[in-house]
């Protein structure tokens, strides 16, 4: 798999930002165009890994009241707990607009190492889980696997905490292999593990649990551990948790690398992943002992990633859609706006911290149904119309209008369309508007290049102008923000807008 060494075009730079960072801010892709993928990816990887972590929430160590506490106290805690989870989610959404690449990966890992708050309940564990995802997002995958299995939220979600030596619970052992590392079959269709492996591994993983009245931490109890011999992957011994991880990665390294490479390519490139790219990413994982950064790098600088046929080939997830709006407009959502996003994506089939099941969100085409599509249009409408400020809209439009433009209406309308639509504009279906441009076109004629250019340009500008003579447009006229808002909403209702 070749590295893509050409300097990136504006179109390619936007693509890279959309796939890694929820979208391109105004001017961002423009500034990156002309550089190579390798240069850009190194910079954003460095930024993602050096950005400071969000502050620990004030409530992260507030323990649940003991059983002896009154029902009022316990009810109050329950209410707080819900508020804390909301706060955690809202913060995360704001983080997504700030430390975009890191949070994009965190979201990917949330969809991979799935847990749901409905099972673990307590927000303090939710915070710890999210923090584990975030701190390991670009780290070593093997370490990540080791750590996530001992995360409290995960222990509860997949029954690790009730997996004791006397009655082993196979839930985590199975998902560890089936979903978290290598999948049931390798690339040739040969099973990666047997049922016996699952049972034996479950025994080796036993003994870990939680004791919430003292602290939120996880601990090991020898009494709950099966200390006998276990046999899996052809190895026998009095294995414990760490041994499982070591042996798994020793005996199945290739299968794990293949599975994870395929998952990364599917997520970041196209739902029908390119086999050559999978091989390259897999090789990077193996040669680096499962470091995530080099694998990601190989993926993001590959010629497969920049293949024009896969640019705009991914359906936006609800998070991509909503955060994307804000990033495109260079707005970091405030609390009210982030809270709106938190709620708005729920009927779009994505509840953060609560994927539908341990396999995560099916994603891709599943995001777009006749009900979610109408809801997406409505959500986009609200984000741009109600959950943004007119000042922000005007500042955004100003940053998108080239300085010294002699036809700002045309330049702005086309710039906005190119900025927010991932599909190449010549493939965007813009219905022909037969009504002519308004105004005194004799004395104020439209530019020749525009009149002789492709029809979609004229139709887009007509949508933007909506009857206003082109020469009357200026950011300072009455109703300017409203007109921009309306145009952005209209753009978000093109089917093309659902793709990134």
């Amino acid at each position: 798999m070749d590295e893509y060494t050409s300097p990136l075009t504006l179109y390619e730079a936007r693509h890279l930002l959309r796939r890694t960072s929820f979208g391109a801010k105004p001017g961002e892709a423009e500034a990156l165009a002309g550089r190579t993928a390798a240069e850009i990816v190194d910079v954003i990887l460095a930024a993602a890994t050096s950005a400071p972590l969000p502050k620990t929430p004030t409530w992260a160590n507030d323990l649940i009241p003991p059983r002896s506490a009154s029902s009022e106290v316990r009810a109050a805690f329950a209410q707080n707990n819900t508020a804390w989870r909301v706060e955690l989610t809202v913060d995360w959404i704001q983080q997504m607009a700030k430390n975009r690449f890191r949070e994009r990966l965190t979201l990917f890992w949330h969809d991979h190492f799935v847990t749901s708050y409905v099972d673990y309940l307590y927000s303090a564990w939710g915070y710890r889980y999210l923090n584990t995802l975030r701190t390991n997002a670009f780290g070593n995958f093997k370490d990540f696997v080791r750590l996530i299995g001992l995360d409290a939220a995960m222990l509860i979600y997949l029954d690790g905490n009730i997996n004791n030596g006397n009655a082993p619970n196979e839930n985590y052992a199975r998902e560890l292999m089936e979903l978290f590392t290598m999948g049931p079959l390798n690339r040739d269709g040969i099973p990666n593990y047997t049922e016996s492996d699952v049972q034996e591994i479950a025994k080796a993983l036993s003994g870990w649990g939680l004791a919430t009245l003292e602290n939120w931490d996880v601990h090991f109890s020898y009494a709950a551990f099966d200390d006998g011999n276990k046999t899996f992957f052809g190895r026998t011994g009095e294995f414990g948790y760490d041994d499982v991880i070591d042996i798994l990665f020793d005996e199945r390294a290739e299968q794990i690398a293949y599975f994870m490479a395929k998952k990364l390519v599917t997520e970041f490139v196209y739902r029908d992943p390119n086999p050559a790219l999978i091989s390259a990413v897999s090789a990077a994982l193996l040669s680096s002992n499962f470091e995530i950064k080099p694998a990601l790098r190989v993926l993001l600088v590959s010629s497969a990633f920049f293949d024009s046929t896969v640019i705009s080939a991914r359906e936006k997830s609800p998070a991509d859609l909503c955060i994307g709006h804000y990033v495109e407009m260079d707005i970091v959502p405030n609390d009210e706006q982030a809270e709106f996003v938190r709620r708005a994506i729920i009927p779009l089939d994505q509840t953060l911290l609560n994927p539908p099941n341990v396999a995560g969100w099916p994603g891709h085409r599943n995001w777009i149904t006749t009900s979610t599509l109408a809801a997406r249009w409505s959500t986009s409408d609200l984000i741009v119309r109600r959950y943004s400020e007119p000042d922000q809209i005007l500042a955004f439009a100003e940053s998108m209008t080239p300085t010294g433009s002699t036809s700002p209406a045309i330049d702005l309308a086309l710039a906005l369309a190119g900025h927010v639509l991932a599909v190449p504009l010549e493939w965007v279906e813009v219905a022909e508007i037969e009504e002519p441009f308004e105004g005194d076109l004799l004395n104020r004629p439209l530019p020749d290049w525009f009149l002789n250019g492709p029809a979609y340009q004229r139709n887009l500008v007509k949508i933007f102008l909506n009857g206003l003579p082109w020469y009357e447009w200026d950011l300072s006229i009455g109703g300017a923000a409203d007109r921009i808002v309306q145009y952005l909403i209209r753009l978000s209702q093109f089917p093309e807008y659902q793709l990134m």
Binding site: T309, R343, I368, E435, E472
Partner: protein, 545 residues
């Protein structure tokens, strides 16, 4: 009209309200924004409503007006023609014998000898030739000085159709949205209509097609899309995509989008069955839009409300020429439309109303134009209108602060009259859609007035807010019966499926509390409908796990 004491508490103010903000302040004197107009008429709804502080978003909702209309089964039609941008009312209905008019508009005033006189004091812009004819035929009514008090928006919202989301950035805490969210009127209908109750055309309007629930209306940004929809039953061309990976995803999304559009059959059928009986000046613009509207009406689509748009009225400069062209278009289009409908009697079923989101300043500016203003005249057409001039011509010397015209007809009173007299809604329905009492506006000929119900019948059931809401496992439905009667309470999901019948028997008078256990239902919005002999009331419930 505008109380410049902006410390008075009851109006939420937005940007541009203080006098320092100059131009924006002028805009703030929007006598009625389109959105407020539609709100007042009950057409604006929330595309997403959070109701009761719920944490679930309901992506689309219906208009209580549309629901009332669907229940009433009326065949009557209202065609709203919006003159988008702010029509200059003063040059439309001209006070041609008032010297003050010519003093303030030295170069853009309409010459006295070219107006088409309606009365000794007022005349029409010379291009409104058809309007003069319709006026003489007694089927046009001119309402003067229509306006609105307490502007609470600082910008015009040119795209708000009754099916789209609330555009107000400044939510008046006692305003429309708040009232709807706590009000009795349902967001639910028990059956999906096969035709749109409302159809909006033009103005680059948001293409909002409702999904699984509440499919009540449809909006087309422009005529080309409606024509394509009528011809193909689809909006998007799924084959217009390259045969590449992104091409196949693009086709997929378009196909889902096409599937999301309802009413294809009814619109296609009406477009095929319908026809135009006169020739229209053009098949573009307002003329084209009205031609299609007449076709759909004649084709018996069943839609009660059409909302059309003619843009370009924002005449900050070169007004004489541009306004003349617009008046010409308006006159020709409406003239043709009325003639078309009259040819086979449809004009008796249709009421046409022109409006603009605001009028313009009385003074001309330095570019031969005018800036945003306030009240303006409004026209109504139809076989059923009383005809003539209503209201008072606003004085050009006694102005509102800021140099703007006063109003004397509150547009909400106009809407209330339309709802009651034209559509035949009951008094209680009308007051729940438009709160406050307004002087009725006698638009219609008495023989066309449908509703004769004098007073609201006292409610025999009072439905209180369920609690808790949102709820996790169980919520209590709370209501009071004035007298013993049979009561039925059903709960529906957003798809209209009945998920529970809580009660279905006679109950004693007094207070009742019926629990609703959510069981294994998924999080989301549900609707509880309480039916008695005379009444149906609905509440939305919010289940959040």
């Amino acid at each position: 009209m505008c109380d410049h004491d902006h410390t008075s508490g009851n109006v939420q103010l937005g940007a541009g309200i203080s006098l320092e903000d100059g131009e924006k302040h002028a805009q703030a004197h929007v006598t009625w924004s389109r959105r407020q107009f539609l709100q007042g008429l009950g057409l604006a709804t929330t595309g997403s409503a959070f109701g009761f502080g719920a944490s679930t978003v309901r992506a689309f909702s219906t208009s209580p007006l549309l629901q009332s209309l669907s229940r009433s089964g009326t065949d009557r039609i209202l065609v709203l023609v919006q003159l988008s941008g702010g029509n200059d009312g003063l040059n439309t209905v001209v006070p041609y014998t008032d010297p003050e008019y010519y003093r303030i508009r030295p170069s853009i005033g309409i010459p006295e000898n070219s107006v088409l006189p309606l009365s000794a004091e007022l005349g029409l812009h010379p291009s409104l030739v058809s309007f003069e004819r319709l006026y003489q035929d007694g089927v046009m009514q001119v309402l003067r000085g229509v306006g609105y008090e307490d502007p609470s928006l600082s910008h015009f919202s040119s795209t708000d159709a009754w099916l789209t989301a609330d555009s107000a950035k400044n939510i008046d805490s006692t305003g429309w949205l708040g009232r709807y969210l706590t009000q009795e009127y349902p967001e639910f209908i028990s059956t999906n209509p096969t035709y749109p109750l409302a159809l909006q055309l033009g103005n680059g309007a948001p293409l909002l097609f409702q999904g699984s629930a509440s499919r009540m209306g449809i909006a087309f940004p422009n005529l080309a899309l409606l024509n394509r929809f009528a011809a193909d039953g689809a909006i998007f061309d799924e084959s217009f995509a390259p045969s590449t990976s992104f091409g196949s995803e693009l086709s997929f999304v378009k196909s889902v989008a096409n599937d999301s559009f309802q009413f294809a059959e009814s619109i296609q059928a009406a477009a095929n069955k319908g026809s135009n009986l006169v020739e229209y000046p053009s098949n573009l613009g307002l003329s084209g839009n009205l031609a299609v509207t007449a076709k759909l009406i004649r084709g018996r689509l069943g839609t009660n409300i059409y909302h059309l748009n003619l843009g370009g009225f924002d005449t900050h400069s070169n007004q004489l020429n541009r306004h003349q062209s617009l008046m010409q278009q308006l006159s020709d289009a409406i003239g043709a439309f009325m003639d078309d409908l009259k040819a086979d009697g449809w004009d008796k079923e249709v009421l046409v109303m022109t409006f603009s989101e605001f009028g313009r300043r009385i003074y001309q500016n330095g570019s031969g134009g005018t800036d945003h203003g306030t009240s303006a005249p409004l026209f109504m057409f139809g076989g059923g209108v009383a005809g003539g001039l209503i209201g008072q011509q606003p004085s050009l010397t006694q102005l509102e602060p800021g140099g703007n015209l006063s109003y004397n007809i509150d547009f909400r009173g106009l809407y209330a009259s339309i709802l009651k007299d034209w559509f035949g809604l009951s008094e209680s329905e009308v007051t729940s859609l438009i709160t406050g009492s307004f002087t009725p506006v006698p638009i219609l000929d008495s023989s066309f007035v449908t509703n004769t119900e004098p007073w609201a019948v006292p409610e025999s059931v009072r439905l209180l807010t369920n609690y808790p809401n949102p709820f996790r496992d169980r919520t209590m439905i709370d209501f009071e019966l004035e007298r013993g009667q049979s009561v039925r309470i059903d709960v529906f999901d957003v798809a209209g499926k009945n998920v529970a019948t809580l009660v279905n028997r006679p109950l004693q008078p007094g207070r009742h509390q019926i629990p609703f256990e959510a069981g294994s239902l998924r999080s989301g919005t549900y609707f509880m409908r309480l039916t008695t002999e005379k009444d149906v009331q609905t509440r939305s419930l919010s289940l959040v796990r």
